[in-house]
C-alpha cells in the first residue's frame, strides 16, 4: 500500500494562503500598473496633441501679428512642464526659431535638438499634417505640428510651413508608478490578509491541539508506556481518530499478549531441535539458545543471554585461523539469509573446536522489519572429513583431466558446453571456461562439418560412440583440424546425461596431407621431373617424364639417367654441366637426349641440387620440357627470316650474309667470286595476264631450274618479285678463268630458260636478263656489288633481253669476243675455214715415217687463228666433237689418197684426240665410221691421247681403246711424262707409242735431270715394247742425244714445221 503523504499543517496552511494572497496581489498590481501606464500614455498623448494644436494656432496668429515676443513666451511656457524635454519652433528649413532652450535658437535642428527626426519633419512639410508618435518603449512622445507662416512681402499666402516639434518625456510619470501602486494597495492587502489569516489560525488551533494529544499518546506508547488512551470527544474527525486510536490500542495489547505467548512456544521448539539454534534481538544480542547450541558453544543460556553474538559464537576460518565474518551482523546489515563460509570452525568456550555448517536468517515481524536473527548450525566435522577425501579425489581427477594434452569436454543434449579442460579451451581459443560455458560448441565448427558434428552428438546421446574429423574456427579466428572421439556419459541409473568428447588437434597432420597433395600435384606437371639420390640414381619420375622419354618408372628406377644420352654432346659438355651443378647446385640449358624409341630430341633441362638440414646434398631434381616443337618453330622462324617462303630460296638477308662471308673468304683465299643478277624479262606481263597464282608457280619453277644450274656450294637467292641472284663462290683465282667459269654458268642459265614453263597445263615462256659482277679480295661492299650487278643486268635488258652482261667492260668485251669467236667457229666448219696441217715425223735414218695432223683455222679476216685461242673454246662449247670428227674424216681420206702414191703409201697419220671427243660414247663408232667411209687402212691411223685424258674413267678408256685396237688403230700417249699415270696403269693400256713431251726434249742437253728422265722414258718404252717418239726436237744435239738414248723417231722444227698438205707432199719429194 502506498503511503499517503502528509504535510505539516501548522506550517503549510498559512504559508499557502500567504503565498496565494501575495501572488494575487502582485498579479493585480501588475495588471493595474499596465492599465495606469496605458492611461498615462493615453492622457499624455491627448495632452500633447491638444497643446501642440493650440500652440500651433496661437503661434500662427502671433506670427501673423508679427509679435515674436508672444511666440517666444508661448514656447517658453512649455519649459515649466517637467515632462517636456524640449519644444522648438522650426522654420521650413528645420532651423530653430524659438525654443525652450535658448541656446538652440538659430541652429540647425538636426544638430542640437535631441530626438529630431528629419524624416518626420519632411513628412510634415509635405503633408502639412501633424505627426504624433510614441518612441519604441513608449517612454516618449514626439510631436511634429505644422505651423502656418505668415506671408512675406509680396506673397499673398505663404507656402512656408513651420514645425513645432515637441519631445515629451513620460518616464518621470512612469517611474513612481510601481511604488505608488504598491503603497496604495499595500494597505488593502495587509488588511485582507489579516482578515483571512485570523480565522484560519483559530481553525488550525482546533485541529492542532487534539492532534498533538494524539501524537504524544502514540509516542508514549511507542516508548513503552502501555497504558495510553486518548480522551477526545466530539463529532469531528479528530474525535473519530481518537476513538480509532483507543480501539487500536486495545487490539494492540491483545496482540502483544499473543506475541509473548508464541515467544514462549518458540522457546520450547527451539530446545527440541537437533541442530544448534541461537536467536538474537535486533542488536545482535543473544536472546535464546537451545541445548545443542549450549553444548557446542560451551555457554549456558543464562550466562549468554544479552551478550553479543560474537562473544558466544566464536568462529574462525579453518584455513587462516582468522575470525570469520559474523553472520548475525551480516544478516542485520543486509536483511538476507546468510550461509557461513566453508571451513568455518567454532571454538567453544573450553577451547574445543568443531567444524560447523550453518545459516543465519533474519527474524521479521509481520511488517517485515527485522526484530532479530536466528542462527542455526551443526557439527559437521565428520562430514568435513568425508568431503575432504572427496575433494582430494576430485582434485586428482581434475588434475588428470586438466593436464591432458588433448581436449576433454562434456556437452549436453543440445550441444552446449558443460565442461572443458584447459587443453580444450586452448584449442578453441577461449580465454576462460566462463567465456564458453553453456554455449553451443557447434557454433565454432565450420559449416561444412556442422551437420556431421551434430549427427555425431545425436548418435552419442542415443548410446553410440563415434569419431569425427572436422575443422573449427576458434574464438580468435584461428582455424584448426580436430579429431574427436565421443562417448555417452551415464549417471548411476544408466541414463545418458552428457557427451564426453576427447579431441585431438590434427591440424599439423592435415596440413602435412595438404602439402603432400600439393607436392604430388606439382609433381605431375607437364614438365618431366626426375628425382635422383646423391649418386644420381633415379628415385622418382613423374608421368610427364614417361610421356616425353618413353620410359616407364619400372624401367628407370635405380638407374643413372645416362641412358638418355643422345651422343650429340661431347664429354666436355657433361663435365662442365656437372661442375656447375656441384658449385652452384643449379644448371639450366639445352640438351639433346634420346627417347626410348631412339629418337633424338632437344630438351630444356633444369637440374637443382637439394640439401638436407645438415647441408648435405641428398637429391638432384631434374625438370625438363621437350622443346622439339619449339626448335622446329625456331627453325621455321629462322627460315622465314632467311628464306623466301614462296620459292624456298635464300632471301635478301641471307644472301647479304653469304655475300659478306664470301667476300671475306675471297679476301683470304684470293679466289674470285661472282654474282649474277637475274631479272625475268616479261614476268610482269605474265603476272598481270595470267594472274598472280600462275606467276608464283612460275617463280617456283624458275627457282628450281636455277638451282640445277649451280653447284651445291653456290647460292641461288630470290631478292623479291622476279629478281634472282646467283652467287658463285670460290671460283678460280685467275680472273680470266673465273670469268670463263661464270660464263659457263651464265650460259647454262640462259639455256634453261629456253624451255618453256608449263604451269597448269599451259606453256609460258620467259627469258632472263643477267647482270654479272665479279668480286675479288673484298674490293667492293655487298651493296656496291649488287648495284653493279644490277646495272649490268639493266645493260643486258637494254641489249635486248635474254642476255648476259658483265659489269666490267673488259670482261664484257672478252665475253663478247669469245662469243664471236664461237659463232665464227661454228661457221668455220661448213665454210671450210679449218685446214689440216702436217708435221713430219722422221726416223733416225732421216726417213719420213709419218706426220702428226694439226688443226689450223684460216679465218678470212683474222688470218690464221692460233689453236691456243680456239681449241679451248671448241672444247668448252663442245664444238670440238664436230671439229674432231671432221679432222678424223679428213685424215682418213688423206690416208686413202696417199695409198695410191708410193711416196706416201707407208706414211702414218697421228691425229690428236681431245678429251671431250674421246669421252663421247660414240667415239669408237665415229672412228670406225671415218675409216669405213674413207676406206683407209686402220693400221695407218694413230690416235694421240693425252695422259690426263687417259687417266679419267680408266675402265671406259681401256674398253674404247681395245675396241679400236681391234680395228687395227694405233694409240700414242701424247705429252708423256707430264701426267700422273702410274706404271701399272700404263700396263693396262693397249698403247703402241709414247711421245716424249717437248718440255723434256727442249733442255735434254742442258738439264741433267731431264736427260735422265728422257733416258728413263726411252728405256721404259723399250722395255714395255712400245715405240717412242720425241717431240719438239729442235737441235741436232738433241737428236743425237735421243738417238744415243735409243729414241729413233723424232718430230720437231729441226725436221719441219706443220705445213699444209701441198707443202708437205712437196717436201717429201726430196
Amino acid at each position: 500500500m502506498k503511503p499517503i503523504r502528509t504535510l505539516h499543517i501548522r506550517f503549510w496552511l498559512p504559508t499557502a494562503i500567504l503565498l496565494v494572497f501575495t501572488l494575487s496581489f502582485l498579479i493585480s498590481a501588475v495588471k493595474q500598473r499596465q492599465m495606469i501606464e496605458t492611461d498615462i500614455e493615453q492622457r499624455s498623448w491627448n495632452k500633447v496633441q491638444q497643446s501642440l494644436a493650440a500652440t500651433s494656432t496661437r503661434v500662427g496668429i502671433f506670427l501673423r501679428l508679427g509679435n515674436r515676443g508672444l511666440v517666444a513666451d508661448e514656447v517658453a511656457d512649455y519649459g515649466v512642464d517637467l515632462n517636456v524635454e524640449a519644444l522648438v519652433l522650426l522654420d521650413d528649413e528645420a532651423r530653430v526659431i524659438e525654443s525652450t532652450r535658448r541656446d538652440w535658437i538659430g541652429r540647425e535642428a538636426a544638430g542640437v535638438v535631441a530626438g529630431f527626426d528629419r524624416k518626420q519633419f519632411d513628412a510634415v512639410q509635405r503633408t502639412n499634417a501633424k505627426r504624433l508618435f510614441f518612441n519604441q518603449d513608449h517612454s516618449r512622445i514626439f510631436g511634429y505640428q505644422p505651423v502656418a507662416f505668415p506671408p512675406t512681402k509680396g506673397e499673398i499666402r505663404s507656402n512656408r510651413i513651420g514645425v513645432l516639434m515637441l519631445n515629451y518625456d513620460l518616464r518621470s510619470e512612469k517611474i513612481g508608478l510601481w511604488g505608488e501602486l504598491l503603497r496604495q494597495r499595500l494597505l488593502i492587502w495587509s488588511l485582507s490578509l489579516g482578515l483571512v489569516l485570523i480565522p484560519i489560525w483559530i481553525f488550525i488551533a482546533r485541529i492542532s491541539r487534539p492532534l498533538h494529544i494524539l501524537t504524544s499518546a502514540v509516542r508514549r506508547f511507542g516508548a513503552g508506556d502501555r497504558d495510553v488512551t486518548v480522551l477526545i470527544e466530539g463529532k469531528g474527525e479528530l474525535a473519530e481518530l481518537s476513538e480509532a486510536w483507543n480501539r487500536m490500542h486495545a487490539e494492540l495489547m491483545l496482540t502483544l499478549n499473543q506475541l509473548e505467548q508464541s515467544n514462549e512456544n518458540l522457546e520450547v521448539t527451539l530446545f527440541s531441535i537437533g541442530d544448534a539454534v541461537i536467536a538474537t534481538d535486533a542488536q545482535g544480542k543473544v536472546t535464546r539458545m537451545n541445548a545443542v547450541a549450549q553444548k557446542l558453544t560451551g555457554w549456558a543460556l543464562e550466562e549468554a543471554v544479552g551478550l553479543p553474538m560474537s562473544e558466544v559464537f566464536r568462529i574462525v576460518s579453518a584455513e587462516t585461523r582468522l575470525a570469520a565474518s559474523d553472520p548475525v551482523a551480516q544478516v542485520l546489515a543486509t536483511g538476507e539469509v546468510v550461509g557461513l563460509a566453508n571451513h568455518t570452525v567454532l571454538i567453544a568456550r573450553d577451547g574445543r573446536e568443531y567444524h560447523i555448517a550453518d545459516s543465519a536468517a533474519p527474524i521479521r515481524d509481520r511488517d517485515s522489519r527485522i526484530i532479530g536473527v536466528v542462527l542455526v548450525f551443526r557439527d559437521v566435522t565428520e562430514e568435513y572429513a568425508l568431503r575432504d577425501d572427496a575433494m582430494k579425489n576430485e582434485l586428482m581427477l581434475r588434475t588428470i583431466v586438466e593436464t591432458q594434452p588433448e581436449c576433454v569436454k562434456l556437452l549436453d543434449r543440445k550441444g552446449a558446453l558443460i565442461q572443458m579442460n584447459r587443453a580444450g579451451l586452448r584449442m578453441i581459443e577461449a580465454d576462460s571456461l566462463e567465456q564458453v560455458l553453456g554455449r553451443n560448441v557447434g557454433q565454432i565448427v565450420l559449416p561444412a562439418y556442422r551437420e556431421a558434428f551434430n549427427d555425431l552428438c545425436d548418435r552419442v546421446f542415443q548410446g553410440e560412440s563415434g569419431t569425427l574429423e572436422f575443422e573449427i574456427e576458434g574464438l580468435k579466428g584461428g582455424h584448426r583440424w580436430l579429431e574427436t572421439h565421443a562417448v555417452p556419459m551415464r549417471d548411476t541409473q544408466g541414463k545418458i546425461t552428457a557427451l564426453l568428447g576427447i579431441t585431438r588437434d590434427v591440424s599439423a597432420r592435415k596440413q602435412a596431407d595438404i602439402e603432400l597433395r600439393i607436392a604430388a600435384t606439382a609433381f605431375e606437371t607437364q614438365e618431366g621431373i626426375m628425382v635422383t639420390d646423391a649418386d644420381n640414381r633415379i628415385l622418382r619420375i613423374n608421368r610427364a617424364f614417361s610421356r616425353i622419354t618413353g620410359y616407364t618408372e619400372a624401367e628407370v628406377l635405380g638407374r643413372s639417367p645416362s641412358f638418355l644420352k643422345s651422343g650429340r654432346h661431347d664429354l666436355n659438355f657433361y663435365r662442365e654441366m656437372w661442375q656447375t651443378i656441384k658449385q652452384e647446385q643449379y644448371w639450366q640449358g639445352e640438351i639433346w637426349n634420346r627417347r626410348k624409341s631412339g629418337e633424338v630430341f632437344p630438351e630444356w633441362l633444369t637440374i637443382t641440387g637439394i640439401r638436407n638440414d645438415a647441408g648435405q646434398l641428398v637429391n638432384y631434381v631434374a625438370s625438363f620440357s621437350d622443346i622439339s616443337d619449339f626448335k622446329a618453330q625456331e627453325a621455321k622462324i629462322h627460315n622465314l627470316a632467311f628464306y623466301d617462303p614462296l620459292t624456298g630460296l635464300p632471301n635478301r638477308r641471307l644472301l647479304y650474309d653469304r655475300l659478306q662471308q664470301s667476300l671475306a673468304a675471297s679476301a683470304r683465299n684470293k679466289a674470285y667470286g661472282a654474282i649474277l643478277f637475274i631479272d625475268l624479262d616479261n614476268f610482269k606481263m605474265i603476272n598481270d595476264t595470267r594472274g598472280h597464282d600462275v606467276g608464283d608457280l612460275l617463280l617456283i619453277d624458275v627457282a628450281r631450274r636455277l638451282k640445277d644450274c649451280v653447284r651445291a656450294e653456290d647460292t641461288v637467292a630470290r631478292l623479291g618479285g622476279d629478281e634472282f641472284v646467283v652467287m658463285l663462290d670460290n671460283l678460280s683465282d685467275d680472273e680470266h678463268a673465273a670469268g670463263q667459269q661464270v660464263e659457263v654458268v651464265g650460259d647454262k642459265i640462259l639455256q634453261i630458260f629456253s624451255n618453256s614453263f608449263t604451269i597448269n597445263g599451259q606453256a609460258h615462256h620467259t627469258t632472263p636478263s643477267i647482270g654479272v659482277c665479279l668480286y675479288h679480295n673484298h674490293e667492293f661492299t655487298v651493296d656496291e656489288l649488287l648495284k653493279r650487278a644490277d646495272s649490268a643486268m639493266y645493260k643486258a635488258k637494254q641489249s635486248g633481253r635474254n642476255a648476259l652482261c658483265y659489269f666490267d667492260p673488259n670482261m664484257q668485251s672478252a665475253l663478247e669476243a669469245r662469243l664471236l669467236l664461237e659463232a665464227e667457229m661454228r661457221r668455220a666448219l661448213p665454210l671450210s675455214d679449218f685446214k689440216l696441217y702436217f708435221q713430219k715425223q722422221v726416223n733416225d735414218a732421216g726417213k719420213v715415217v709419218g706426220a702428226e695432223v694439226l688443226l689450223r683455222w684460216e679465218h678470212p679476216e683474222r688470218g690464221l687463228v692460233p689453236p691456243s685461242e680456239f681449241i679451248p673454246l671448241a672444247e668448252e662449247t663442245g664444238l670440238i666433237v664436230q671439229i674432231g670428227e671432221w679432222v678424223l674424216e679428213e685424215a682418213c681420206a688423206q690416208l686413202k689418197r696417199w695409198e695410191s702414191n708410193p711416196l706416201t703409201s707407208d706414211l702414218q697419220l697421228a691425229v690428236n684426240v681431245s678429251a671431250r671427243q674421246f669421252r663421247q660414247g660414240t667415239f669408237a663408232d665415229v672412228v670406225a665410221n671415218a675409216l669405213l667411209m674413207s676406206g683407209a687402212d686402220p693400221n695407218r691411223l694413230k690416235l694421240e691421247l693425252t695422259e690426263s685424258l687417259v687417266l679419267e674413267n680408266i675402265e671406259d678408256t681401256i674398253a674404247k681403246m681395245h675396241k679400236l685396237k681391234d680395228m687395227g688403230v694405233g694409240f700414242s700417249m701424247d705429252d708423256f711424262g707430264t701426267g700422273q699415270s702410274s706404271l701399272t696403269y700404263l700396263k693396262k693400256l693397249p698403247l703402241d707409242q709414247l711421245k716424249i713431251d717437248q718440255s723434256f726434249v727442249s733442255d735434254v742437253t742442258e738439264d741433267a735431270d731431264d736427260a735422265i728422265i728422257v733416258q728413263t722414258i726411252i728405256a721404259m718404252a723399250i722395255n714395255l715394247d712400245l715405240d717412242v717418239i720425241a717431240e719438239g726436237v729442235e737441235t741436232e744435239e738433241q737428236r743425237s742425244f735421243l738417238e744415243r738414248s735409243g729414241c729413233q723417231v723424232y718430230q720437231g722444227y729441226l725436221f719441219g714445221r706443220p705445213v699444209p698438205i701441198e707443202e708437205f707432199e712437196a717436201s717429201l719429194g726430196r
Binding site: 501548522r10 498559512p14 500567504l18 501575495t22 515674436r68 515676443g69 517666444a72 513666451d73 517658453a76 511656457d77 519649459g79 515649466v80 517637467l82 525652450t100 532652450r101 535658448r102 541656446d103 535658437i105 538659430g106 541652429r107 518621470s172 517611474i175 513612481g176 510601481w178 511604488g179 505608488e180 501602486l181 504598491l182 503603497r183 496604495q184 499595500l186 492587502w189 495587509s190 490578509l193 489579516g194 489569516l197 489560525w201
Partner: protein, 322 residues
C-alpha cells in the same frame, strides 16, 4: 511561539512593501525660471559644464521677467531668478518665498542707452525713452532723471518689456531705452551710446534667487546643488573666461568677446559674501530691500507694504567660511 513568529513575518512583509513603495518614488527636478540676463547666465554655464543634471534641476528659460514672476506666482516653478523689486511684488501678493542666493549686483549692467544722435542726458528732453515698467526700470529712470535734472514729463516714456527693446530700437520707435545686458550690449553694437548706468547707483539693483517655501523642504538637495553649481560656474568663469564666454554667447546672443564685457558691469558676490548678505540681521541687503520697498510703494509699484523680516535664508548655501 508560532503565532509570534507569524505575526513578525507579516509585519516584516508589510513594511518591506511600504518601504519599496516609498523608496521608488523619486523627487522631481527643481524648476528654476529665469529670463535672459547675463547675470543669470552662470546658472546656464553651470548646466553647460554638466554641474546640473536634468533630473535635479530644470532651468526654465523665459523671455521676460514678468513671465518669470508669473511662473513663481502660479507655482509652475519652484525657484526663480528675479530682481529684488520683483520679489517684493510677489511678497505683496502673499506668495510665500525666500531669497536663498544673491546672484549679482548691477554695476553698470543696467543702463540708459540712447541712439547716436543724442549726445547727453539733457538732450533726451522730448525724446522717446523706452523702459521696462518694473522696478528696475523705474529705479534707473528715476536715477537717470535725477542725474539729468529731468522730470518724467520731459520725456516721452514708452513702456517696453525687455524683449521688445531691440525690435523697437530697430523700428525706430524709441530714441533711447533703459535696458540691461545683453540688450544693452547689443544696442551698443548697433551704434547706441550709454548715457547713464547702474554704476552710478551701485548696490541698488540686485538680482536674487528665490524659492517658494512649499518646495524648499522637498527640493532641499536640489537647491543646494543649484547654489554650489552657481559658485562653481563663477569659478570657471574666472579661470577659463574664453571657454566660458563661448558657452554663454549663444544664449545671450552676443559674441563671446562682448560677453565678458558685460560682466564688467556686474558684481557677483561669492559664497562668503552671500552668507554675509543673507544673514539678514546684519546685512545691508535688508536695508536695500527696505528702501526699495519704500520706493516702490511711492511709485505705486507696490500697493501695500511688505515685510522683509524673513526674506532671506542662507541654509542652502554650500559650506564656506563665515
Amino acid at each position: 511561539m508560532m503565532k509570534i513568529r507569524w505575526l513578525a513575518s507579516i509585519v516584516l512583509l508589510f513594511s518591506a512593501f511600504y518601504v519599496l513603495g516609498c523608496v521608488s518614488r523619486p523627487v522631481p527636478p527643481l524648476r528654476v525660471a529665469t529670463n535672459t540676463w547675463s547675470g543669470y547666465e552662470p546658472l546656464y554655464l553651470a548646466r553647460s559644464l554638466g554641474f546640473y543634471s536634468a533630473d535635479e534641476i530644470r532651468l526654465v528659460e523665459m523671455n521676460s521677467a514678468s513671465k518669470v514672476s508669473d511662473a513663481v506666482r502660479n507655482g509652475t516653478v519652484e525657484a526663480a531668478a528675479l530682481t529684488l523689486d520683483e520679489v517684493l511684488s510677489l511678497l505683496q501678493d502673499g506668495i510665500e518665498l525666500q531669497v536663498v542666493l544673491v546672484i549679482d549686483v548691477s554695476n553698470g549692467a543696467d543702463a540708459l542707452v540712447a541712439k547716436a544722435k543724442i549726445d547727453s542726458l539733457q538732450d533726451l528732453r522730448g525724446h522717446r525713452v523706452g523702459y521696462e515698467a518694473g522696478a528696475t526700470g523705474a529705479i534707473m529712470l528715476q536715477a537717470a532723471m535725477e542725474a539729468a535734472n529731468l522730470h518724467p514729463r520731459d520725456l516721452k516714456l514708452v513702456p517696453l518689456s525687455v524683449d521688445q527693446h531691440l525690435s523697437a530700437w530697430d523700428a525706430d520707435k524709441i530714441d533711447a531705452v533703459v535696458t540691461f545686458d545683453p540688450i544693452r550690449a547689443q544696442l551698443l553694437s548697433v551704434g547706441g551710446r550709454v548715457l547713464f548706468d547702474s554704476h552710478q547707483v551701485p548696490g541698488r539693483i540686485v538680482d536674487v534667487l528665490v524659492v517658494r517655501k512649499d518646495a524648499m523642504h522637498k527640493q532641499r538637495e536640489h537647491l543646494q546643488r543649484l547654489l554650489s553649481g552657481h559658485f562653481a560656474a563663477l569659478d570657471y568663469l574666472g579661470k577659463s573666461p574664453a571657454d566660458a564666454s563661448s558657452r554663454m554667447s549663444a544664449r545671450l546672443g552676443v559674441p563671446p568677446a562682448q560677453v565678458l564685457e558685460q560682466y564688467q558691469g556686474l558684481k557677483f558676490p561669492d559664497c562668503r559674501e552671500n552668507r554675509q548678505s543673507l544673514d539678514f540681521s546684519k546685512s545691508e541687503l535688508r536695508g536695500v530691500a527696505e528702501s526699495l520697498a519704500h520706493l516702490m510703494l511711492d511709485r505705486r509699484l507696490l500697493t501695500k507694504s511688505v515685510s522683509v523680516e524673513s526674506l532671506t535664508n542662507p541654509d542652502f548655501l554650500p559650506n564656506c567660511l563665515k
